[in-house]
Amino acid sequence: MMSKPGTTPHLRINPLACHAHGVCIEALPEMIGSDPWGYPVLWENPVPGHLLAHARRAVASCPTLALQLVDSDTNPRQ
């Protein structure tokens, strides 16, 4: 999960794997909010430097591994 130099780390949610456990919303409230049905909404992207460790913890703690940290913005709409 180490970012390559020169890229900006982005968070991405796999909507197929996400079952609204809501752990990521607790782990990274600065960037992830909740929609009316408990599913996570990425309000901010990319991940700023001071939140990177928290982002990694959030990714590791997702029960279904739906939250991903990627090197660049491959999914602009999220």
Binding site: P15, C18, Y39
Partner: protein, 447 residues
């Protein structure tokens, strides 16, 4: 003069392209025999250009996908070739795959089925040529499992070609459950890989990793049919019709309040008014046009008439070309009630994989129904609150399209919204439904 009229007056109407069905187009001469002999008489033999020549011809022609996304076909082919070359050894050895998409998910569209029944050999030619261009040895043609006419026509055509020893590529006909989302690119790939016909999470997109992990070119059958003609007549011929920014002809399905609804082949760039006139003209006053099907948007009549029928022109007008669907909506019908029915249908067509869609679409449908059928005062606020959470958060574009459609209905039929809120549902809300919704549609979720 109210604000809406003033806005419409301010639109400039660009120069129109003369309306004519192109000579040697897809549907030219199809009143003749659709069989192999008739096809060869009309169009001649399958050209034997090399892959490099084909790629060059496609790129210079400016052909773009006719399945709804409108992606430049030449660029897509190049991307598939690059992905196939860059893969692991087994992937490189196996080569890319070509998938022809003949599944028409939009209920209001009939163009692909019409093409397959009237000119199957053009489609099959296109598949062969596309396979040659990208170096694919394996090709598939996907059809809805209940599209019996098209299936019969294709099987017959394949039999003729086998007997004549024409095709180098084996085309495997694959039947797909009839669902709105089943014909999405990644859903077809998933089905061909042995899974359910439901959208997958992308990236990787099919062109990078698709059927069997190989680079996969997915093209609409109409796109491939155009390819068959471009290979024969050249890119300049293709560009001689249509508009500079949208060359060639395209098939459209025109229905609703027109005298002669049906599938038409038109040069891109004509206006909406030209299009409706081609379909026999409106049968009465038209209040709005649904452009792009249920994945498109409503347009006020005046704006629709003035719009250029090109991807850019319709996007600029606020809708989309999509799969070339135009429904003339008569005055006296209730756009809100009709859209509410469509919203409920789309909610039922959810693949059931992503929370925002599973929850959001029924919620939007319920809100629109409350507005259209009961004049519920809370409905507009509810819709405004929910909509931003529905769009852009699923694996496929179904929720995005539904949200856009509903949003456009609220904008275009704004006077109706006010009237419903003030006085309750209008008489039009009780009219017989106009927009087609398949009654035998398979539910969106996997069986």
């Amino acid at each position: 003069m109210n604000r809406r009229d003033a806005y419409e007056e301010s639109l400039t109407v660009p120069a129109t392209v003369p309306v004519q069905v192109a000579v040697g187009g897809l549907l030219a001469g199809v009143d003749g025999r659709p069989d192999l002999t008739g096809h060869l008489l009309r169009h001649g033999e399958l050209p034997d250009q090399s892959a490099a020549q084909l790629l060059d011809v496609v790129e210079r022609s400016g052909l773009a996908g006719r399945g709804g996304a409108g992606f430049p076909t030449g660029r897509k082919m190049r991307a598939v070739i690059a992905a196939a070359a860059g893969g692991g050894r087994s992937v490189r050895q196996a080569g890319p795959v070509v998938v022809a998409n003949g599944c028409e998910g939009e209920p209001a569209s009939s163009k692909d089925k019409t093409l397959l029944v009237l000119a199957p050999h053009l489609v099959l030619d296109g598949i062969t040529l596309a396979a040659r261009a990208v170096g694919a040895a394996q090709t598939y043609l996907c059809l809805h499992e209940d599209d019996h006419e098209a299936i019969r026509a294709v099987q017959y055509a394949l039999g003729e070609r086998r007997a004549a020893g024409i095709d180098s590529a084996r085309v495997q006909v694959t039947l797909v459950p009839h669902r709105y989302v089943a014909s999405e690119e990644s859903a077809l790939v998933r089905l061909l890989n042995g899974g359910p016909a439901l959208p997958a999470f992308t990236p990787p997109r099919p062109f990078e990793r698709g059927v069997g992990g190989r680079a996969t070119l997915v093209n609409n059958v109409e796109t491939l049919a155009h390819l068959a003609l471009i290979a024969r007549h050249g890119p300049d011929w293709f560009r001689s019709q249509g508009a500079p920014d949208a060359p060639g002809t395209t098939l459209v399905t025109v229905t609703g309040a027109v005298a002669a609804p049906g599938v038409y082949e038109i040069p891109l760039g004509i206006t909406g008014r030209d299009l409706l006139d081609l379909a026999g003209g409106p049968t009465g006053p038209v209040q709005a046009v649904l452009a792009g099907g249920y994945f498109g948007a409503w347009l006020p009549a005046a704006r629709a008439m003035a719009a250029r029928i090109t991807p850019a022109g319709l996007t600029q007008a606020g809708a989309a070309l999509g799969a070339g669907i135009f429904i003339a909506f008569p005055a006296g019908s209730c756009g809100l009630a009709e859209t509410a029915r469509v919203a409920r249908y789309l909610a039922g067509q959810s693949a059931g994989q992503c929370g925002p869609c599973i929850n959001g679409l029924p919620s939007l449908a319920a809100g629109l129904e409350a507005l259209a059928l009961r004049g519920d005062r809370r409905a507009p606020e509810h819709l405004a609150k929910i909509a931003p959470y529905v769009t852009g958060r699923g694996a496929c574009r179904l929720p995005d399209g539904a949200t856009r459609l509903i949003g456009s209905a609220l904008t275009v039929f704004a006077p109706d919204v006010r009237a419903h809120l003030a006085h309750g549902p209008c008489p039009g809300a009780g009219h017989a439904p106009l927009l087609p919704i398949p009654t035998t549609a398979t539910s969106g979720k996997a069986r």
